[in-house]
């Protein structure tokens, strides 16, 4: 009787030890459950625009009726209606900008709206600049982070516009797409 009792207690101790080991193993196994994920962020070079050349309409003669002087983004000049181009000593150029930024990104180009830009002779005489055009137009694409942006426009000349030198300024803005 005494002998049997001891054996039973021994068995019970053995089983308890196994259960304890199992508990420990189970706990440590659940602690090993991990997963890794990758995280990425792309920091992009800011886009910037720098003026390289001004927009110049050159010399012309205003007539008895109004007209326009047009400079294309390529820099060629033409006149309409009552305006006569005057070549001697005239310098006409399209505006040029250097756009810099990230790699081969595309960007949106915003030109001045019609009716917002006016040239003045410093006195009371003015001429409106409208119909801005650019090359590239609308959307530009950088190559190795660079692109030249050429801008032309149309100068509106009144009949018998007063002679003089007229100046003004305009902004062109670029934004990443």
């Amino acid at each position: 009787m005494q002998n049997k009792k001891i054996r039973v207690i021994k068995n019970l101790l053995a089983v308890a030890a196994i259960a304890g080991t199992g508990l420990f193993a189970g706990a440590s196994e659940s602690q090993a459950a991990t997963a890794s994920a990758n995280a990425t962020a792309t920091v992009v070079t800011p886009i910037s625009i720098t003026k390289q050349a001004d927009l110049q309409f050159g010399k012309f003669i205003a007539g008895g009726s109004g007209g326009t002087v047009v400079i294309t983004p390529a820099g060629s000049r033409s006149a309409t209606a009552g305006v006569t181009l005057y070549a001697p000593g005239s310098v006409q150029t399209a505006a040029a900008f250097n756009v810099t930024g990230d790699g081969s990104s595309t960007y949106a180009i915003t030109l001045p709206a019609d009716g917002t830009i006016t040239l003045s002779d410093g006195a009371s005489n003015t001429m409106a600049v409208s119909s801005f055009t650019s090359n590239p137009s609308g959307t530009g694409t950088l190559t190795a982070g660079n692109q030249t942006l050429d801008v032309g426009a149309t100068l509106v000349v009144a009949a018998n516009q007063a002679a003089g030198s007229y100046t003004g300024s305009f902004n062109v803005s670029v934004d990443y797409n």
Binding site: G26, A33, N38, P46
Partner: protein, 151 residues
């Protein structure tokens, strides 16, 4: 002999908690993507929420391009298994490009960090975080790994 049988049943009951303790595995199914942004002349932060939304604070300008996504995981086990998710502590994970790096902080999870598995025994969840950029952070593709732990 009868007493022996009783002992065995007791042992089985003791072992029971071992098998119901803890979801058993977790698998990554998607990475965390902050997308593209410009770093301006002041410090800024970009946050991606567990639902994949993105927002900026301070000197960063978000560009509407690049992939934006919360990290995705699935944990699995048995119905009603308890789980406890541990996310990385703030500023212990960095993403790097060349010699430069940016710390991640504010890890957030789409589900409670502890609970029980649903009837299917499978629980998908997503994790978002915030990346901090120094003023005028050098351009580049910053990348790094983070680990979540499941108990």
């Amino acid at each position: 002999m009868k007493k022996k049988k009783f002992v065995c049943i007791t042992a089985a009951l003791l072992a029971c908690p071992v098998f119901s303790w803890g979801a058993t595995s977790v698998t990554k199914t998607g990475d965390l993507r902050f997308g593209d942004f410009v770093s301006l002349n002041s410090s800024g932060k970009v946050t991606v929420t567990p639902t994949g939304g993105r927002s900026a604070q301070g000197g960063v300008f978000l560009l509407p391009r690049g992939t934006v996504a919360a990290a995705q995981f699935v944990m699995s086990g048995k119905k009603n298994d308890r789980y406890a998710i541990s996310l990385p502590a703030d500023n212990t994970v960095y993403i790097a490009s060349g010699g430069k790096n940016m710390p991640l902080s504010g890890f957030t999870c789409s589900i409670p960090l502890s609970g029980r598995l649903p009837g299917s025994g499978s629980q998908p969840f997503t994790v978002g975080a915030t990346v901090t950029a120094d003023p005028a952070k050098a351009p580049g593709i910053y990348s790094g790994n983070f680990t979540i732990t499941l108990q």
